[in-house]
């Protein structure tokens, strides 16, 4: 009953989208604000409507209504309440509904915002958003309907995919969805500015915070996905260059390029057409990634099963690309730069280089992800592009990006002076060299990681110096104490110092990636009871296996027992990796035991056993510095919060610092 009401509400939401998409541009054409406001309200109403739809499906999930096909496919009587709730996004059909909910939330938020000087954009923003949201609701209703019922309801359902029973997996998809759908907002502003022929900085000012939100959600989603792969998939690592990770990563890379080049337009009024292009590319990559993951064209550990929505998505993709191209090309003449490039050796110059690097990295990941499909289509050869490819091709480009992070902040806008830059650089360079020498002495002898760590040390020092310089400038000019100066500095320049915090997080991530990538070892050993094997400094002694109760009712768990001793023979701990077997799904999950120290993780998997545990095999990973990745990720998100936190100062946020100076107001 409630469920059918939900179904009805989603149909209404689709109607609301159609109405908003038609009435808003009509209102703009007739210059009738009532029509525009009506479209705005209709677009806003999609949120409560889709929410009712989700509540309906939740109701069916919670009450075990196996008459609904989706409910039977993702839950059973044994599924705990928590996972019945999260099963809403546990499979294709429900997750598209959930996707619509999050997208509708962004649409409603954009509609509810205060429209001031950007009001001319409103009808077109409404139209763009309503069209895109309408598309996804259409897919939900007509291709992947989650409300379809069985004629004869089964007694019990199939249960939730065991892989999805992890807190990381519960938060990871909503985060990625929020990241993807959040980027709809700046895209809508961008399209609207072209349609309304307002090709000044209006759309950037109105949408830059939205871009940041989408970007941060994507980052968080990627990090949580990595954590999930690490904890549940038994990858031994955090990143597998899996297509489902690569697609959001590509979007994240392009969005990052956009966030930087948007600064050039704000400060210097340059590269407007480039920013429009980047925003369109961001959105296109998001749409493309969604289409590919959802259509089953890509095989991956956690893509959705093959379905027939592929051609439909591809058709929509072509229409979007064509519309964007036409819009962009017909407005090119109005997107001229206000200023000329004074020098390539300037902030804007290096940002352009950085943009290109981001795009070429994104392209590398793209071609690696797409090559298997292209190759199979053209030559019939099934090719898998494994991590070695990405490590070798994308790796150096990412290293170059780390270097740019350490150089770009030093270059002034307009034209930088080599002498000044060098004077700022010398300290951190010395620090980087000292770190390299130190590492060489303690035994890091491989050239590439040595260089990598040196680079990270340099960039880290340089970024910390940005804070030091800022604080000391304030201490000198304002006479503040150091903590106050730091706080005020960040308050007055949230985006800049939040951005630097993100840079620090990325450097920490890079340190973790280098440590794990170059010094991670893994072995697989078959041992008899009380037999030992040694990996690095650790000795593992096999003590047998035992059955243990599983966290879930529909699985059986066997636990391996290992005693860990260090090189001196002292016991430093034990490891109890699990193998969970789910008979209904015929699925085995290897749940690792993760132990060790902060700087060196010991990651143990139970591979299998023979003769009731007389012998067993274990896979042991030693992952140096991998924890730096999680810490770096947290710092990145913190940096986002610093940049995004609503400004607390009394000035209106639109005329802060740079904009005011650009407007010619003297600094007091």
């Amino acid at each position: 009953m409630f469920t059918d009401l939900g179904h009805l509400a989603v149909i209404f939401a689709f109607a609301a989208c159609l109405y908003a998409a038609i009435i808003s541009p009509l209102g703009a054409a007739r210059n009738d604000d009532r029509l525009v406001q009506s479209g705005r309200l209709a677009a806003f109403m999609t949120l409560p409507l889709v929410l009712i739809g989700c509540l309906g499906l939740w109701f069916a999930l919670i009450t075990h209504d196996f008459g609904v096909q989706y409910v039977a496919s993702v839950s059973n009587l044994a599924t705990p309440l928590f996972y019945r709730i999260t099963a809403l996004w546990g499979s294709q059909n429900g997750s598209i509904l959930f996707w619509c909910l999050i997208m509708a939330a962004f649409v409603a938020a954009a509609m509810a915002k205060e429209w001031k000087e950007d009001k001319p954009l409103l009808p077109y923003v409404t139209m763009t958003m309503a069209l895109v949201l309408g598309f996804f609701i259409f897919v939900q209703l007509f291709l992947t309907n989650a409300f379809v019922r069985y004629d004869f309801p089964p007694q019990d359902g199939r249960g939730l995919n065991p892989l999805l029973r992890h807190p990381g997996m519960i938060i990871h998809p909503p985060m990625l969805y929020a990241g993807y759908t959040g980027l709809l907002v700046p895209f809508a502003f961008c399209v609207a500015s072209l349609l309304a022929r307002r090709t000044d900085n209006l759309w950037l000012r109105s949408s830059r915070r939205w871009t940041l939100v989408g970007w941060a959600f994507l980052a968080a989603g990627l990090l949580l996905g990595g954590r999930w792969a690490h904890d549940v998939l038994g990858w031994g690592g955090y990143w597998g260059w899996d297509p489902s990770e690569n697609k959001p990563f590509i979007t994240w890379l392009i969005a990052t390029a956009f966030l930087h080049s948007a600064m050039i337009q704000e400060k210097r009024g340059m590269f407007k057409n480039w920013n429009v292009f980047l925003m369109m590319l961001t959105f296109a990559s998001m749409f493309f990634g969604t289409a590919f993951i959802r259509s089953g064209l890509l095989t991956s550990v956690h893509a959705f099963a093959a379905s027939d929505i592929g051609p439909f998505f591809m058709g929509a993709m072509l229409i979007i690309l064509a519309a964007c191209a036409v819009l962009w090309l017909t407005r090119l003449d109005t997107l001229k730069s206000e200023h000329k490039l004074d020098s390539a050796f300037s902030r804007e110059g290096i940002f352009l280089i950085q943009n290109v690097l981001f795009l070429s990295t994104a392209f590398t990941v793209f071609i690696g992800t797409m090559f298997p499909i292209l190759s199979e289509a053209i030559t019939g050869q099934k090719i898998t592009v494994g991590p070695p490819y990405y490590d070798q091709v994308a790796g150096p480009q990412m290293a170059a990006l780390v270097l740019l992070m350490g150089v770009a902040p030093l270059l002034a806008w307009h034209k930088a002076s080599g002498q000044t830059v060098w004077r700022q650089m010398i300290g951190p360079v010395v620090f980087g060299v000292v770190v390299m020498v130190g590492l060489f002495i303690i035994g890091v002898r491989q050239a590439l990681p040595l260089l990598g760590f040196g680079l990270c040390a340099y960039t880290l020092a340089q970024t910390v110096m940005e804070y030091v310089r800022g604080v000391s400038a304030r201490v000198k000019s304002m006479g503040e104490g150091v903590p106050t100066a730091l706080l005020r500095l960040a308050q007055k320049n949230q985006r800049r110092y939040g951005g630097y915090l993100v840079h620090i997080g990325v450097v920490l991530l890079a340190i973790g990636a280098i440590g794990k990538g170059f010094y991670g070892t893994d072995v697989i050993r078959n041992v008899a009871i009380n037999e030992s094997f040694t990996v690095g400094d650790y000795t593992f002694t096999y003590r047998g296996i035992r059955p243990v109760p599983c966290e879930f009712d529909d699985c059986q768990t066997v636990q391996g027992m290992l005693l860990i001793t260090n090189a001196a023979g002292q016991t430093i701990g034990s490891a109890f990796p699990n193998r969970d077997y789910y008979p209904a799904q015929e699925h085995t999950a290897t749940i690792p035991e993760i132990t060790g120290t902060f700087n060196e993780e010991v990651y143990v998997l139970l591979g299998g056993w023979e003769n009731n545990g007389a012998t067993a095999s274990f896979q042991v990973y030693i992952n140096p510095l991998i924890n730096w990745i999680w810490v770096g990720g947290i710092v990145v998100i913190l940096g986002f919060f610093v940049a995004f936190w609503p400004p607390t100062d009394r000035e209106p946020s639109t005329v802060r610092g740079p904009a005011r100076r650009a407007a010619g107001a003297p600094a007091k």
Partner: protein, 179 residues
């Protein structure tokens, strides 16, 4: 008294429940111990399997994949190693039999050469385009500067001498409390 009877009944049902539960649990445990007894590859087999693609689960390497075909492949590797072949020979065998696509790292020749060349080519093109754009933009700029200088501008020199360290002065200006 009813409470007592109820209590008695509860304990009785509980005993039955415990019995049923223990039957379930023990059968689970037995089946759990029986299942997943896949033969375990030794270390060298594992090393080689790491460099091959899994034929069934796309995107993963052979070593990490638990399917039956993968187990057969791993057994094949082990059998060949037992025959005295070395790692290169085993890899060569798989490449000869299933084509170069079986390798985790696609070869830098043949069709897959495109894969390696494309990003490099794209980067060259991207940077070429940006280089040309930058060069043209700065050419226009220097033309303007030349015109400005010709029309009389000692301003440039005066401007340069304002601050000894433009970076620091710029920073100080930016971080200054403007309120």
């Amino acid at each position: 008294m009813t409470k007592g009877i109820l209590y008695h009944e509860v304990t009785k049902t509980r005993r039955v429940a415990i019995l049923i539960l223990s039957v379930f649990v023990s059968s689970w445990l037995i089946s759990a111990v029986v299942q997943a007894q896949a033969p375990v590859p030794d270390d060298q087999t594992y090393r080689i399997a790491k460099q091959l693609n899994c034929p069934t689960c796309a995107g993963r390497n052979l070593a990490d994949c638990p399917t039956e075909t993968c187990t057969q492949w791993k057994n094949e590797i082990k059998a060949q190693l037992d025959q005295g072949k070395n790692a290169e020979e085993v890899l060569a065998y798989f490449e000869a039999r299933f084509g170069p696509t079986v390798l985790q790292e696609p070869p830098k020749e043949g069709t897959t050469a495109i894969l390696w060349a494309a990003p490099v080519g794209a980067a060259i093109v991207f940077f070429g385009v940006v280089g040309v754009v930058m060069w043209r933009m700065s050419q226009r700029r220097s033309a303007q500067v030349a015109v400005a200088a010709a029309t009389g501008g000692a301003n440039a020199n005066a401007h340069a001498s304002v601050a000894a360290d433009p970076f620091v002065s710029e920073l100080e200006r930016e971080v200054k409390d403007e309120s």
